[in-house]
């Protein structure tokens, strides 16, 4: 079929993606180089915007704020400007910890779900429940579990302020996120496991390979492409985490992610919020690039191979 026909079929998608993604991104970029309206420290008058150069970016990255006298000073503690690197740290911490735990537990779940036993369909349905419930509901559910008088403290016999104190709040977010998203990881790994032909294991067993050797020499290398795609998807999700910490810990600074910082900044100034969201977009893009390039999580190639199987 003609290439022109193909573009005709694809055009609506490209037009819509251009409207809902490309246009807002360009607009954000333009906004990020403009000053927010505010009081001019020199005159005390309310002034509108104007060009900001890179000052919105240095505001976040170098944490420079404009003082009452109009000079650049380090942002005072408590202001949003001073929380950029803290938010980057929280986001990175959540991403690394949740994705690592999910790989380990997800793998274990996938191995169990891959076995044959009675009630397998029921098990697979049960594991989808955390995935299907909206994150906002999940967050409220764990907010209740982690309440001071809640079941978590009662079962553990503790009096931890789960959503109030810094480290308990971070772990509350991690636990709720791992609960919700591990099933997705487990299913992607399971799909990868099921594509390994069983005769490979038979041959290895005949040759006297131990269970551990079969796992490290056969399972891991063969499941690696699927695993890498799963890690890429989950990492991208974790880097943009918003709902869970925002609702579960109600604005606790210890769980403030970059996305939460952007939303809080919108109320104080569109243009510096736009520069912050642009920074977060660039960071996420770089992480995706590194994962795809160096870890072999090549999602495009995966799709490509997939189509080669049956398409003309």
């Amino acid at each position: 079929m003609s290439s022109g026909r193909a573009w005709l079929l694809i055009a609506p998608t490209l037009v819509i993606l251009a409207i809902v993604i490309v246009y807002p991104v360009i607009r954000a970029l333009v906004m990020s180089f403009q000053k927010d309206a505010g009081l001019d420290p020199a005159t005390g008058m309310f002034v509108k915007g104007g060009s900001a150069g890179f000052s919105n970016y240095t505001h976040w990255i170098l944490q420079q704020c404009t003082s009452a006298s109009g000079t650049l000073v380090p942002c005072p503690p408590g202001t949003l400007g001073s929380q950029f690197w803290g938010a980057v740290g929280n986001t990175a911490f959540f991403t690394v910890v949740t994705v690592s735990i999910e790989v380990v537990i997800g793998f274990a779940m996938a191995v169990i779900m891959g076995k044959t036993f009675a009630g397998r369909a029921l098990l697979r349905a049960a594991i989808l429940i955390p995935w299907a419930i909206p994150t906002a509901v999940t967050a409220k559910l764990w907010y209740f579990i982690f309440a001071y008088d809640g079941i978590a403290n009662k079962l553990l016999g503790t009096n931890i302020l789960w959503t109030g104190d810094a480290w308990p709040a971070r772990f509350a977010v991690i636990i709720a996120d791992v609960w919700k998203t591990t099933p997705f990881m487990a299913l992607l790994i399971l799909a990868g496991l099921q594509m390994i032909p069983s005769d490979v294991y038979e041959a290895a067993r005949v040759d006297g390979a131990s269970a551990w050797q079969r796992f490290t020499k056969i399972t891991l290398p063969l499941v690696k492409p699927a695993l890498m795609v799963a890690i890429l998807f989950r990492t991208m999700d974790a880097l943009r985490m918003y709902d869970l910490p925002a609702i579960l810990t109600e604005g606790n600074p210890a769980t403030r992610t970059i996305s939460i910082l952007v939303v809080e900044q919108i109320r104080q100034g569109f243009n510096s919020a736009a520069s912050l969201s642009t920074i977060s977009f660039i960071m996420i893009f770089i992480v995706a690039f590194i994962l795809v390039k160096f870890l072999g999580a090549n999602a495009v190639a995966t799709q490509e191979n997939q189509r080669k199987g049956t398409a003309s």
């Binding site: 079929l9 989808l128 939303v263």
Partner: protein, 273 residues
Amino acid sequence: MKAARIYVGVVIILVWGLAPFYWMAVTAFRDPRYTFDTTPWPTHVTLENFSNALSTSNGNNFIRAVINSLIIGGATTSIALVVGIFCAYALSRIDFRFKYMVVGVVLGASMFPVVALVTPLFQFFTNIGWIGSYQAMIIPNISFVLPLTIYTLAAFFAELPWELEEAARIDGAGRFQAFRLVMLPLAAPALFTTAILAFIAAVNEYLLASQLSSDKTEPVTVAIARFSGNDPHVVPYAAIMAAGTIVAIPLVIMVLIFQRRIISGLTAGGVKS
């Protein structure tokens, strides 16, 4: 021995998936004075929490929020399916230059951070008076639902027996006719599965909705997050758990019924190398 070990794992996974959800439902049916009881079944059973959750006397309108979610989720899903089916057909059936660039764009879009859209859209929708309108949430939702639709559908389409389409063409059917009469019925289960995934993703959205909705258009995710009772100093845990149960039950039933399809949909887009 080996079977016993498997069943230990099975029980752990069942508890993992069901226990927190079960606790929400138990609390929802428990008299609010006993919310923090630890008996594993609801003592002092009551429907009071559900009537509190649905009550509008405290400024909440949960039924309205449920309807809003259905409107937003339904409209987003329909648009994404209609547009996505053409793109997915082209990607799985036609060879053309820059095809992998298009695949890359779609996959890139699916990983795009929604937060990068919030600021420009907030300002833009404020300027044109769209804040609080349904379209202000439906249109941005397309940004992550459409890519999801395309790569799930493309994966399903790749597995269809396209020889049937060729046969219909040889018998004199036009290309569109062949697609509509022969392939579309075959693709119906895939479309249905994709619709479920798209709908769940659209209903799950919170970040955009929390910024762009008003009291009249807020979906359940926003309604549940800012749910308040009559007393501002008391968190209405029991009513919130009832509201959560109302949202979760239909989704849980859907998952139980369509478990096999949802799993094939989730894994089709990702992992077939």
